[in-house]
């Protein structure tokens, strides 16, 4: 058994002596690496005798080849269909018998499996999760049946939801070259074309311990977890090192505009995404952008105060930024006009706010208020250990270090007004943006009566 504690682990053990010193941790993580390359991280929380296990594979839809789109998510479904040692639904049945919660998520960058159980079932879930890391079986019957389920899932999220269809078209227009523009679930014709062999190939390539991170959070310790990790996950052989290839975006030179019409849309809205660096840029820009989005949003934010309260133009207006992606992400702004206000008027008013911000900059007061809210938010985050586990798992999977994931408050404290203004100038470039309008179809049918007069209603 070869366990190589990382530098980070040693730093953490030394920390109690440093308590109160300048470099403050938001929360503690202890780590180790198994001989087969599996990275192990433990976040302790002893409030209740409960543990959460999460396994992050560094493989998501953005790692798919063009002829296998949708396979990352498809395989996630197949991982619940049984292994050579735990057939059929035995995995789910066993966990449900404990009242455990479990599920999985596929994103552009990661595929994640998780279970929350009473602590006495920790060994059981570790055994089961390690088992399906290398013993998965996929039959044609299960594969074909699951394909129908996934098509229903897609209809549920996209074909049946105008907002879903709009978001899909909007993302596709954002990226000129990078696969972040593709829907994680795949387009309908791509799901249809996937084969059992595609799923097996994906599993063989990416589902190896040296491409995974195990995060255990809750009422346990690294000392308890390591022997179990070694016993179950240690038995999974190291695989060939999979390489992630991510195409880079070329320079964006032309602003793009989309007009999406649907009879089900009643409230017109405009959204604009700008290409923006993610946390992996490591230069503080991600934190500056989080502060920028915060001071623009919410009831006291610039957009709502100016566009809704003062000018009376907007029903709602805000900004958003999600920095937790591996490659270039987006900074978004949006507005929906009040009744009787034209969407073009709303867009112009929003643009004027952005121009003003670029001209005059943000104020120290705005930055301080946003920062204190974000810093307090990091304390509130400790109330949700699964949220912390997710931060660790996702952060490590996109290439951040444990230090970077656990020392966010230090970075936020250090961000200056000048940095926020520089980040605003960096992202607010229309040539690097897509503006999307979600609008009612010109010939929208009238809204149906609240209660059907007859049992059969045709609008």
């Amino acid at each position: 058994m070869i366990l190589r504690p990382l530098r980070v682990a040693c730093v953490l053990l030394a920390l109690p002596a440093l308590a109160g010193a300048a470099a403050a941790q938001d929360f503690q993580v202890k780590t180790a690496v198994l001989a087969n390359g599996l990275y192990v991280a433990v976040v302790e929380d002893h409030r209740a005798p409960v543990v959460t296990q999460m396994v992050y594979y560094r493989a998501g839809s953005a790692d798919e080849l063009p002829n296998q789109r949708g396979v990352a998510h498809f395989l996630e479904h197949m991982m619940f269909q049984g292994t050579s040692t735990t057939p059929g639904q035995e995995f789910r049945n066993t966990i449900a018998r404990y009242g455990g919660r479990e599920n999985a998520t596929t994103t552009a960058d990661t595929t994640t499996y998780y279970q929350t159980v009473g602590k006495e079932a920790l060994e059981l879930v570790m055994r089961l999760e390690a088992d399906r890391m290398h013993n998965l079986t996929i039959t044609d019957k299960e594969f074909n049946s699951e394909k129908e389920v996934i098509k229903e899932e897609r209809r549920n999220r996209y074909e049946n939801e105008p907002g879903g269809l709009f978001a899909e078209q909007f993302s596709a227009a954002m990226y000129l070259n990078h696969p972040y523009g593709n829907p994680v679930i795949g387009y309908m014709h791509e799901i249809e074309a996937l084969t059992r062999q595609d799923a097996l190939d994906w599993y063989k390539k990416w589902y190896v311990p040296n491409n995974a991170t195990l995060v255990i959070a809750g009422d346990t310790t690294l000392a308890e977890v390591l022997p179990l990790a070694q016993k179950y996950y240690g038995a999974v052989p190291r695989g060939a090192e999979p390489t992630r290839f991510r195409p880079k975006e070329p320079p964006h030179l032309a602003e793009r505009r989309l007009f999406f019409y649907d009879a089900r849309v009643r409230q017109p809205s405009m959204s604009r995404n700008y290409l923006a660096p993610s946390q992996t840029a490591r230069d503080g820009t991600a934190q500056a952008l989080t502060i920028l989005a915060t001071l623009l949003s919410g009831s006291t934010g610039r957009f709502y105060q100016e566009l809704s309260i003062k000018q009376g133009i907007a029903q709602g207006a805000g900004a958003g930024y999600s920095g937790g992606l591996m490659n270039e992400t987006t900074f978004s702004v949006s507005i929906s006009p009040r009744r009787g206000i034209d969407i073009d008027v709303a867009e112009k008013a929003l643009d004027a706010e952005i121009d003003k911000l670029l001209r005059d900059g943000v104020t120290a007061d705005e930055v301080e208020l946003a920062k204190s809210g974000i810093l307090d938010g990091l304390i509130f985050a400790r109330d949700n250990v699964m949220g912390l586990a997710r931060r660790v798992g996702n952060g490590l999977s996109i290439g951040l270090t444990v230090d970077e994931v656990t020392h966010l408050s230090d970075i936020y404290k250090s961000v200056t007004v000048a940095q926020v203004n520089a980040a605003a100038r960096l992202v607010f470039d229309k040539r690097r943006s897509v503006t999307g309008f979600m609008l009612p179809a010109p010939a929208a049918p009238a809204a149906p009566a609240l209660r059907p007069a007859a049992a059969e209603v045709r609008p």
């Binding site: 005798p49 455990g100 159980v117 549920n156 709602g316 009040r338 209660r451």
Partner: protein, 455 residues
Amino acid sequence: MMRALVAAAAFLVAVAVLPAPLAQAMDIQRMTSPLGVDIWYVREPSLPIIAANIIFQDAGASTVPVEKLGLGYLVQVTLDEGAGDLKSYEFQRRLDELSLTMDFDVGVDTFGATLRTLTGKRDEAFKLFGLALSKPRFDDDAIERMRAAILAEVAQRLVDPDDIINRAFVANLFPTHGYGRPLRGVPETIEGLTRADLADFVKTRFTRDKLVVGAVGDVPIEEIARLIDLAVGDLPATGTAFNVPEVRPAIGGDITVIRKEIPQSTVLIGGYGIKRDDPDYYTASVLNAVLGGASFISRLWDAVREERGLAYSVQTSNAVLQHGAYFLAYVATNNDKVGESIEVIRNEIDRLLRDGITQAELDAARTYLIGSFALSLDTNARIARTLVSIQVSNLPMDYMEHRVDYYNAITLEDVRRVARRVFLGDANAPMGPAKLNTVVIGNPVNITATPAKGG
């Protein structure tokens, strides 16, 4: 602080090779505040956070007359738009400065409020909370802004298939009761609400006799009592009794189809439910878990999703309200599979009525229900909400320790009897096909609606 309980021996037999499922109790403290408020509290010293949940009973949307539909919702969104001397912006700014989260939520039966603050900022936080509850400004400009926002939201909901079917479903089950009406109101009633209506809603419902309190924090309970008094001290002692009547869903076995040109249909199937204070409540939970409530191990999950690939999601629940309850099954499926999906669900329900469940299913549902409840108490805010719901359900303080006993007492015969209550309406009803109402939205193939009942 939470403690593990020793699980009852019966489980160890039920799941022989596996370790005992978690049973867990919280160390609940209780005291009456100087102002006479009954406070339930769990002390959690490891985090510098205080979470409080308060609700006013007999204060929800069903207490509002039909011509003022949506009043509770307008109050909900306008409460943090200024209070006392603080106008909208100043109030919101204060919330930001304190990092104070204050949420209001009108339900059909109750009006709820939650607060989450850092312990270091607690005094200001609870004062501001109290100001919002007892001295909301309801300035005209704030009301008009919120009214416009709600009208836009409701206009969108009126054409959203999920929302249309939800409204049609509750109207179908509760045609003459407040439970059948849209909580957010309809444009005509929302347009007519006045500042006086809002003030009256608060005066008659935000009163100390309707108050239920649960909190989690790292300070002694005496300190929580002081803070709660700070927040509710200015509320009137008593409010209006609204006497919302008890109601049973109107199950006539009809099928309603709402035609929409969308690729996937949504189906809701309704039946009788079992109320929280009914001795059969725990048995109904088991019945529901086996049929479709414990999704991954339920019969419908297997029959609809795993065996036939008909749907991404299929779920059932025993929906409990203060004055009634109903059974609900949900499935969303391609238009050409609606008929098959409904048939599979109905067949499973009829089979359950006819043959009951197996001992293995009863054991699995029991351990699932016991374990999943304990695991859901994972944040301070959730624990505070649970403290409130135990009180609203009139359960004793040691309820969590006894939950296990309630489930262990259930027999297979109990499940058969309760299946008749849920799917036939009466434990002594003659056996026959289940009585269920079905509502479909979409463009389903080969589905015929029953003739309208009129009205």
